[in-house]
Symmetry: C2
Subunit: 241 residues, 2 copies
């Protein structure tokens, strides 16, 4: 009869989902991977730290199966290192590894420069300019974290202007891998104003669709930044705070 089959299909009798809750079924591992990635990129899990499954299953409220799937994802992304029978640890990059990753990142931006100039839309110009404005505000307010985050965002946006999904994906992944190692360099306040000026030139070149110029500006900008970062990492100069 009607009353039998008419039960509200949205929720079962056993557990009532809190409102706004969307089931994560089929997305647990992805979701856990995102959480873990945030923890690593945010510095909550420092490089080299060993990660026990139990710690995370309790912390994130999932069971071991999706957690272990997330480990595989992050290992493939290069953020975790898994030793059989001994669990996972946050990947640790040697200075040489970071150097090589930076070489790759500079290269990827060079690759992006000309397609970006050829294909960027007006909306993308506007988005990059808006971010630039926010970054200047962070510089003015001395907001280190915001400055750094938006800086990365601007570079990702410029790469995205090339409308090449594969390029964007690879740039994002490699950028994440070295994120924490680059953070140090942005702590030299002297570099900030210089970087802002370089960004302004970069924006100009992008908006005027001058591909080769953009490529050279990006390369120079990166090499400048990386030089400072390397000095900080090598303790040759002291960060401002």
């Amino acid at each position: 009869m009607q009353s039998d089959s008419d039960m509200a299909p949205a929720e079962t009798a056993s557990v009532v989902a809190p409102e706004g809750f969307r089931s994560l079924r089929g997305r647990s591992a992805t979701h856990v991977a995102e959480r873990l990635r945030d923890m690593i990129l945010g510095g909550d899990l420092p490089a080299g730290r060993r990660i026990s499954e139990r710690m995370l299953t309790e912390g994130l409220g999932v069971t071991r199966t999706p957690l272990r799937e997330a480990f595989k994802i992050l290992e493939t992304e290069g953020l975790l290192h898994i030793v059989p029978n001994r669990g996972a640890q946050v990947a640790e990059l040697s200075p040489a590894d970071v150097d090589m990753a930076m070489e790759l990142l500079v290269g990827l931006e060079s690759v992006a420069a000309e397609p970006a100039c050829a294909r960027a839309t007006a909306a993308q110009f506007a988005a990059v300019e808006a971010l630039h404005g926010q970054m200047v505000a962070c510089q003015r307010d001395g907001d280190l974290m915001g400055y750094f985050r938006i800086n990365q965002d601007i570079h990702q946006n410029i790469v995205d202007c090339a409308h090449n999904p594969a390029l964007s994906r690879v740039y994002r992944a490699e950028s994440a891998r070295v994120r924490l190692y680059r953070f140090a360099g942005n702590r030299v306040r002297q570099r900030w104003s210089c970087a802002v000026m370089e960004h302004e030139q970069i924006l100009q070149a992008l908006k005027q669709r001058q591909g080769p110029l953009l490529r050279e500006l990006l390369r120079a900008h990166h090499l400048n930044g990386w030089r400072v970062t390397r000095l900080v990492l090598g303790n040759e100069i002291r960060p401002d705070r």
Copy 2:
């Protein structure tokens, strides 16, 4: 007594491992991912083909847990596409996707060119030359599969000359992703001799450590090859067999 404790420690009573067998404990997922990757890159699993877990657990002799971990690895590599509650299917690339991936691959080789010239060792020169010799032999014998495989191998080796692990890793992954789509282009025999000549110039430039020249030669070589491939994929010319 002696006879009690003297049992051969290499094998337990329950299951006798076949000789040469090393336990895969802790490596199942990785191993399965390798097998699956080979199946996809070898064309045994065509693009778009849906993959059921049962098919593979039976085919590969593993249970679902490591198989599902392997799925996550291959999804992160871009070789599989997983739809929640509906399983995995081999990733399918649109012509635009392949175009963009090729743009990235050409870019990565350009990035590799100068460091490769700067850092390649004599052993690496020799390795690339040996591969080139093998490729010429394949061309002579009309061995399509061998020619194609060694061709890819040569390009990977050139990138590896840059001694940049991150670059090598990314190049390998992206190269794999479009492997099957590029295969078609190598079926035009007319292109083979042309490609061999281009490779010879490329080798020259590498050995003489002429970075900028190498970069231009690689770019031109790729664009030539990709132009032919695109024609074949678009059915504008017919492959030789």
